[in-house]
């Protein structure tokens, strides 16, 4: 939390958005920011992903000019925190089935329902909430303090401990009419946000992988067993070489995705491929690094176990690993296998 104003000052929030107090960086630069933040901790990168790609992006892309002017400069500066409410207790991989509902009631909308697993929820001053209005998914901006809205924090996580995860509860939550995002209808809205965030995650996960790799290299050079540094054993070297190989391939994938995103040519299936691959290899690298550190690997003195536990969340959120397999499968075969 204490890092937020500083991150805002550095211009890292909504960094790839043009105008409204945002830096207007390229997508490659945005990716590098995610990589370096996640080298520290996935929770920090999650904060930045949610703020920029999931909360600011929909306001920028689907909001009115008044909404953009009201929220974006404050959010870019880190003075306003945003969250993104899509997932529900009974609808995770299948968000289209959501139950949260909005009803048109004269000069306001009334929201009812509950969201779960919402990053930044309790901290947020502004929530971009997806709910069905007349059976169609629409985006709404709910502000902290709106009547009927609460955001209790979820506890007991073994992963992403540096990130706040919350429920969002709407009980006859009444918001003014001008809080609907007019620019989008249906799942395209949230998916557009997720595609931006997933792109950043494909870079971010590599940051965590690099931290684990570097820790493993250092540790293996100094840990002596059988009178030799363990780095001198072929099995250890093979593991390190494999890590470097996978990180390098992942970087090439992310970099290429970034360059074609800058040209406006990146398709969602390519984002799925990059997110799926890079989180997967990052998790495997974290586990291998944990192994190389021996018993020390489970200690908080080394970053590997923390990254490993974090990456379990990253593997699941923003489309689980297998949901991305299904997205690619559909693209390859033309046959959907979700249902």
């Amino acid at each position: 939390m204490h890092l937020v104003p500083e991150i805002g000052e550095m211009g890292l929030l909504g960094a790839n958005i043009e105008g409204y107090g945002c830096a207007g960086l390229s997508n490659v630069a945005y990716g590098l920011i995610c990589q370096e933040l996640e080298r520290g901790d996935s929770g920090l990168r999650s904060f930045v992903s949610v703020q920029g790609s999931l909360a600011m992006h929909p306001i920028r892309s689907f909001g009115t000019e008044a909404q953009r002017l009201k929220y974006l400069p404050e959010m870019a500066a880190g003075r306003m925190i945003g969250c993104f409410g899509l997932t529900e207790p009974d609808f995770g991989s299948n968000p289209g089935g959501m139950l949260t509902k909005a009803v048109d009631d004269g000069d306001s909308y009334v929201l009812n329902g509950a969201k779960m697993w919402i990053t930044n929820g309790t901290l947020a001053h502004v929530a971009v909430v997806w709910a069905k209005l007349d059976g169609e998914i629409r985006g709404f901006i709910v502000e902290k303090g709106d009547p009927g809205f609460s955001a209790p924090e979820m506890h007991g996580k073994h992963s992403l401990k540096a990130s706040v995860t919350s429920e969002l509860v709407f009980q006859d939550c009444r918001i003014p009419k001008d809080r609907i995002l007019p620019g989008v209808k249906g799942l395209r809205g949230p998916f557009s946000c997720l595609n931006n965030a997933r792109f950043g995650i494909s870079w971010g996960a590599l940051g965590a992988a690099m931290a684990c790799y570097h820790s493993a290299v250092e540790y293996s050079k100094t840990r002596i067993q059988f009178d030799k540094p363990i780095a001198s054993f072929q099995l250890i070297q093979m593991k390190l070489a494999w890590m470097l190989r996978e990180i390098t391939k992942g970087q090439l994938l992310a970099l290429h995705a970034g360059r074609i995103k800058d040209k406006g040519e990146l398709i969602p299936e390519q984002v799925s491929l990059a997110k799926m691959n890079n989180v997967d290899i990052a998790l495997q690298i974290a586990r291998t690094a944990r192994d190389i550190h021996g018993a020390n690997g489970i200690l908080d003195e080394y970053p590997v176990m923390r990254h490993m536990a974090n990456l379990e969340s990253v593997y699941t959120y923003e489309g689980t690993h297998d949901i991305h397999n299904l997205i690619l499968g559909r693209w390859i075969t033309g046959i959907q296998a979700f249902t």
Binding site: E9, M10, G11, L12, A15, G21, C22, A23, G24, L25, A29
Partner: protein, 264 residues
């Protein structure tokens, strides 16, 4: 009022300096350059004046080759609004006076009314250029400043007078001020600043462009000739006194102080 900031790139403070074989300069290959830290204080002071609406623009003034552009760009990213680089090639061989002439001419060309500079550059430590610039322009100078307020055209500067005393100096623009540690904490460039700075051109001018004649700059205009450059002699190695007991060590120390160092 436009404020000019004199900015010099210097080898990073942790550089291990090597002298070139003909002893005319240092080996620059492989050196990491950074902005002279005292100049960063000057830049920050100028940016604060701009933020407070007291300066209409902040002009970075430097003498250097194209490799100095990275430092100038960093200053623009932090919020400077213009930059003039006097091309090193047109003043090569200058002493402090030649550099000061180039910077004073650049400051005039930019139309600045206040010049802020570091109290010295951490490479040569001459602390000469800002005073010379003031003299060339006929402006007052306040040096080694740790506090600064500018109101209208009036300047109040605080100097650390030693012994815990603060000397307060008043003057008015146009003036040259040199900055010392404690004046402020320089900001970092943020992403927005980096993007905005990309659109600002760095004006590259030769001495001739600034109306200086060949005799005023370069070796021809120099009053000081550098005859050679040498590293300080290596420190004599120290001796660690061995001994079984503290008493034996002290005895040996006293013997060495008397017989070898001949100080007791």
């Amino acid at each position: 009022m436009k404020v000019g900031v004199l900015l010099k790139q210097v080898p990073a403070s942790d550089t291990i300096i090597k002298i070139n074989p003909d002893k005319t300069g240092i080996v620059t290959a492989g050196i990491k350059w950074e902005t002279n830290p005292y100049d960063e204080l000057a830049l920050e002071a100028a940016l604060q004046l701009k933020d407070a609406g007291k300066a209409t623009g902040v002009v970075v003034l430097t003498v250097g080759a194209a490799d100095a552009d990275a430092r100038v760009r960093d200053a623009l990213s932090r919020g400077a609004t213009e930059a003039i680089r006097v091309d090193e090639a047109s003043v090569v061989g200058s002493d402090s006076l030649g550099t000061a002439r180039a910077l004073a001419a650049a400051a005039k060309a930019a139309g600045v009314e206040l010049i802020l500079a570091g109290k010295q550059a951490i490479d040569t430590d001459s602390a000469a250029v800002p005073a010379m610039v003031a003299e060339l322009l006929g402006w007052p100078q306040v040096s080694v400043v740790t506090g600064l307020t500018v109101d209208g055209g009036k300047i109040t500067a605080e100097r650390n007078a030693g012994g815990g005393f603060i000397e307060v100096v008043s003057t008015s623009v146009p003036a040259v001020i040199t900055c010392d540690k404690g004046l402020n904490t320089p900001r970092f460039a943020n992403m927005k600043g980096i993007m905005a700075a990309k659109k600002i051109p760095i004006e590259v001018k030769s001495a001739a462009d600034l109306g200086l004649s060949a005799g005023q700059v370069g070796a021809a205009g120099a009053l000081v000739e550098e005859s050679g450059l040498e590293l300080p002699p290596p420190r004599p190695s120290s001796k660690i006194i061995q001994g079984a007991t503290p008493e034996a060590k002290v005895k040996e120390l006293v013997r060495l102080l008397r017989d070898e160092a001949k100080v007791i």
